[in-house]
């Protein structure tokens, strides 16, 4: 199992097996702190507590000092040992002291108990399989399946959900027998008693309207952000920043430039097609910050080569098109830095997605008007081309509940396009399951602002299952550690305690905008538009990836095994290539899933 994880930890490997219980934990390591002394798994002085750990504990210097004052003796400088001693002090409550991205396993030999934990936001993965009182866990699904090859089968419901969301919603996986430990959860296992799982952290949920003095709020957020950057800059290896030209990464770079003792290195990625290029904005920011700036262009020939490699190796399928450029910039940066800071999570925590504001407005309009008035207003608005897009969009989506409107918005209405594309293996599914699963994950709206509720949904669903899968897998594939600055407990708790109106003021993500140093980010022509993550997938599917897609249709597992309908998808591909129609919203997830499924079935991409 450890060998399969090699790319996640190229520098070292270790296994501890407990002879009495038959429990063993293993680890592979990417050396970032205490490069020589951080061998894992690691135990306390008398070998009664063993820990294997994946990730990074940013506040480990403080914790180490506190523990040392309490008489603990440290053999290494790494963060794994901090876990061991913290566990000795506090048992499972220790997780509350940790600031970082992590999953870890602790074997308590005396209590004969295994503790597994996952960080607050789900930055690091943890897969579980239980059978007959035994528990198997790994930070990769692939390596877990290596040990239990007979689990290697696809769950039709998970494939269905994947097609709708373009990611596999947790805590399930694509494989029926394997699940994930949800973010902010811990699990204890004892022989004979099995598993006990509980949540140890969730973002605060009940903000009330409050007149916060904006000035002091911004000051507080800035302080927390500086702390987040400062602690994430600590490494025994070079650290850089991924700069997209958007607000979030610009803010991260600005604070990092302030907090860093050496000249900052920034990295950005651009394309040779599609007319969308953020590299110029990133270059201007880098220039203003005086960073050592690197620009990589993901060219079309490279896309053809990279897509099969990356999309098939995401551990679970992932239809997020930004995985490709992220992998490209990570690979480019890796010889220069081992750690990079990124701005992920800001949109979910601080209300950055425009749909939050639009759907909230739509809900208010809907709530305020009687049905017939809504209908005729909708008719008028549809004819009034000059009106704001928000109003028109809200009318178009008006009759559906907020949850479904949001879903259709983020998933490009894929759930309505399933039927003709599905093959016999998916055809028999209950097509409402996706919605009911989502609804149960979302909880009750309870009359609160729709935007707040959607932000929470994204924090629990989209963030860990899409955004963080992308950042973790794409960067770890090239053994680079990507640290998300905004995913900081204090910042998240502050963000969660604020009135939604504070977040959505102006063009949204008001606090992030307010923290940005003035004059750093060049004005966008035509006002603010969120284009930072626009990836030219449509062009790629017409160009460099057209042969890959054809190859998929001809021999891909998805079509050979009857998951999707070859003819229907073929027509979609044909239309996308020949006419101006953009079907990339459907074709990209299909391509990602297809490449992944081929590898899953032991077929290496050509």
């Amino acid at each position: 199992m450890c060998q399969t994880l090699r790319h996640r930890g190229p520098d070292d490997e270790g296994i501890h097996a407990d002879a009495v219980s038959g429990v063993s934990i293993g680890a592979r390591r990417l050396a970032i702190m205490d490069i020589a002394g951080g061998h894992q798994p690691l135990s306390n002085e008398n070998g009664t507590v063993w820990a294997a750990f994946n990730g990074e504990i940013y506040n480990h210097p403080t914790l180490r000092e506190d523990l040392r004052r309490r008489g603990h003796v440290f053999q290494t400088h790494g963060d794994t040992e901090v876990l061991v001693h913290l566990y000795e002090e506090y048992g499972e409550a220790m997780v509350h002291a940790l600031e970082g991205m992590f999953t870890f396993a602790i074997w308590d030999q005396r209590a004969q108990r295994l503790l597994l934990a996952r960080d607050r936001f789900g930055e690091k993965p943890l897969f579980l399989h239980e059978e007959n009182g035994e528990l198997l866990f790994a930070s990769e699904l692939t390596s877990l399946l290596e040990v239990r090859p007979r689990l290697r089968e696809l769950d039709p419901a998970a494939i269905d959900a994947f097609f709708v969301f373009a990611y596999v919603p947790g805590p399930g996986t694509v494989v029926p027998g394997v699940r994930q430990l949800p973010p902010g959860c811990l699990l204890s296992w004892e022989r004979g008693r099995g598993c006990e799982e509980r949540a140890w952290w969730s973002p605060p949920e009940r903000p009330v309207p409050r007149r916060d003095e904006l000035r002091s709020l911004i000051a507080e957020a800035k302080e927390l952000l500086s702390e987040a950057v400062r602690t994430r800059l600590v490494a025994d290896v070079p650290v850089g920043v991924f700069l997209s030209g958007g607000v979030d990464s610009t803010l991260v770079a600005a604070v990092a430039a302030q907090e860093s003792s050496t000249r900052l290195r920034t990295f950005t990625v651009g394309y040779d097609v599609g007319g969308v290029n953020e590299t110029e904005r990133a270059r201007i920011v880098a220039d203003r910050l005086g960073s050592e700036h690197h620009e990589v262009t993901l060219t079309q020939p490279e896309v053809a080569e990279r897509a099969p490699l990356v999309l098939s190796r995401m551990d679970q399928p992932l239809g997020d098109r930004a995985a490709l450029p992220l992998h490209a910039v990570s690979e480019f940066a890796r010889p220069r830095v081992t750690v990079a800071l990124g701005g992920e999570g800001a949109d979910e925590l601080f209300g950055g997605y425009p749909r939050y504001r639009w759907l909230e407005r739509a809900r208010r309009v809907q709530a305020a008007l009687p049905g017939p008035a809504l209908g005729s207003l909708g008719w008028m608005l549809r004819r009034a081309a000059g009106l704001p897009r928000a109003a028109r969009a809200s009318m178009r989506l008006a009759p559906t509940p907020v949850l479904e409107r949001n879903l259709d918005w983020v998933t490009a209405e894929r759930r309505h396009r399933r039927a003709p594309l599905y093959g016999p293996r998916l055809a028999a599914l209950d097509d409402t399951r996706v919605i009911s699963d989502l609804a149960s994950c979302a909880g009750e709206l309870n009359g609160g602002p729709a935007a707040r509720w959607l932000m929470r949904l994204d924090q629990r669903h989209y963030l860990p299952d899409d955004v963080l899968v992308k950042t973790d897998r794409a960067s770890m594939l090239v053994s680079l550690e990507l640290r998300s600055v905004f995913l900081h407990a204090g910042l998240a708790e502050l963000a969660g305690s604020l009135d939604t109106a504070v977040h959505l003021a102006g063009s949204g993500k008001a606090l992030v905008h307010a923290m940005l140093p003035e004059g750093l980010l060049p004005e966008r022509r035509g006002g603010y538009r969120k284009t930072a993550f626009r990836v030219p997938a449509a062009e790629w599917l017409r160009g460099p990836l057209a042969p890959t897609m054809q190859e998929q249709l001809a021999h891909g597992t998805l079509y050979e095994e009857g998951w999707f309908d070859r003819a229907a998808v073929g027509r979609l591909v044909q239309e996308h290539a020949a006419t101006g129609a953009d079907h990339s919203d459907q074709l990209w997830p299909l391509l990602a899933l297809g490449l992944w499924a081929d590898r899953f079935h032991g077929r290496e991409p050509a």
Partner: protein, 389 residues
């Protein structure tokens, strides 16, 4: 201590007339309210008149407060700045009739009136400084300090804030006298235990400012509970941050060990001070140059009840709590350090007892009569200067 009482220039008999100006006065709750009232009541050497805003229940309170109090009513929904402007104008108008020899402004927002009265009547001005208001309005603070004959600051931390604000705005502050806040010391402070088996950690204070560290307490609580499962955190006080703290408690899975009591009567609060094993308020320095805890009366109150305290090792708490003597000072941003200090006091009853006893002795030296005596000396000094200068 007070050697002579100067007779007001040319006027016969009686004590010097003092006009105490305050925007915060009981029955509304809060620290400045308490200081204002307790001083007004205890300044025996002066003929004191208090000028304060009207509030619900004020007439009832004033009838029994033993202090001559003038209330300024402001029409319903006036915004804060307008109410303060009105209060200042009223102060000036009243002063022209009262002809005080001295004004004591309890908050810098009253300093414009104090300055105007000084100009109009020659009355000397003494200015009180707490902390938060200096960070929020450094320019006004500098103005207030430079216009006052003397200033009273509640801690060295506050003195530093005044000097910093003055330097930044090119003003020269008058003499700064550090006089900490006071407390009442109850005769009966015996521990009260009607919940055997529960170890109560108490926090008292309004829940309006993040810097008071309620959130830090919540982050430390799971660690405390890991070592002292019978611990509970009782929070006396209300404020707009309370719902989000309740949500945070839930998010951290510690809501079963937290009790938000809201605003309670003095009797009930005192009962909790007797029930508690320790009082914790890990105030931190707020971000962005804003000022934090100036003194923290609650630390002194804990001592009055013989309770050890856990406080942040910054700001006014450094004056109010002596580390290892009356309490434990910790880095208020480090949940582990905070948890450890609390656990130490919960587990080590000998230590808790010793710190509590020291706290009680300290409180006895800082009762309101003591504080009033020192304030009176500053006021008389200011009058003296008015005679000679």
């Amino acid at each position: 201590m007070v050697a002579s009482r100067p007779e007001p220039g040319g006027r016969s008999g009686g004590r010097p007339r003092l006009l105490l100006l305050t925007p915060d006065y009981p029955p509304s709750p809060g620290g400045i309210q308490v200081v204002s009232h307790r001083l007004a009541a205890a300044l025996a050497g002066f003929e004191t008149t208090v000028l304060a805003p009207a509030s619900a229940g004020a007439a009832e309170f004033d009838a029994h407060s033993g202090v001559r109090t003038l209330r300024v009513a402001s029409p319903g929904a006036l915004p804060g700045p307008a109410r303060i402007g009105l209060l200042n104008a009223a102060a000036l108008a009243r002063a022209s009739m009262l002809r005080p020899q001295l004004t004591l402004s309890m908050h810098i927002v009253m300093s414009p009136a104090a300055a105007a009265i000084a100009r109009a009547t020659g009355a000397r001005a003494v200015q009180y400084f707490h902390a938060e208001e200096i960070g929020a309005r450094p320019r006004l603070a500098a103005f207030a300090a430079s216009n006052a004959t003397a200033s009273i600051v509640v801690s060295e931390y506050t003195a530093g804030l005044v000097r910093e604000a003055s330097a930044r705005h090119g003003k020269q502050p008058g003499t700064l006298h550090v006089i900490g806040n006071g407390t009442d010391v109850p005769e009966d402070h015996a521990p009260f235990s009607d919940e055997p088996g529960r170890a109560t950690i108490l926090t008292v204070g309004r829940i309006e400012e993040r810097y008071k560290g309620h959130d830090a307490m919540l982050r430390a609580l799971p660690l405390v509970l890991a070592k002292v499962p019978e611990a509970q955190w009782v929070v006396v006080g209300d404020g707009s941050l309370r719902p989000s703290l309740e949500a945070l408690a839930k998010g951290l899975g510690v809501d079963h060990a937290v009790r938000f009591l809201g605003a309670v009567s003095d009797e009930e609060r005192n009962l909790w001070l007797r029930r508690a094993r320790l009082v914790a308020m890990p105030s931190r320095l707020p971000a962005g140059g804003f000022a934090g805890e100036g003194f923290g009366i609650v630390y002194l109150e804990a001592g009055a009840y013989g309770k050890p305290v856990v406080a942040g090792n910054v700001g006014g708490a450094l004056d109010a709590v002596s580390d290892g003597e009356t309490g434990l000072l910790v880095d208020p941003t480090d949940p582990l350090a905070l948890a450890e200090a609390i656990v130490r006091l919960l587990r080590d009853s000998e230590l808790a007892g010793r710190l509590g006893a020291n706290g009680r002795a300290n409180a006895l030296a800082h009762t309101w009569p003591h504080v009033a005596e020192r304030v009176e000396a500053v006021l008389l000094g200011a009058l003296d200067r008015s005679k000679t200068g």
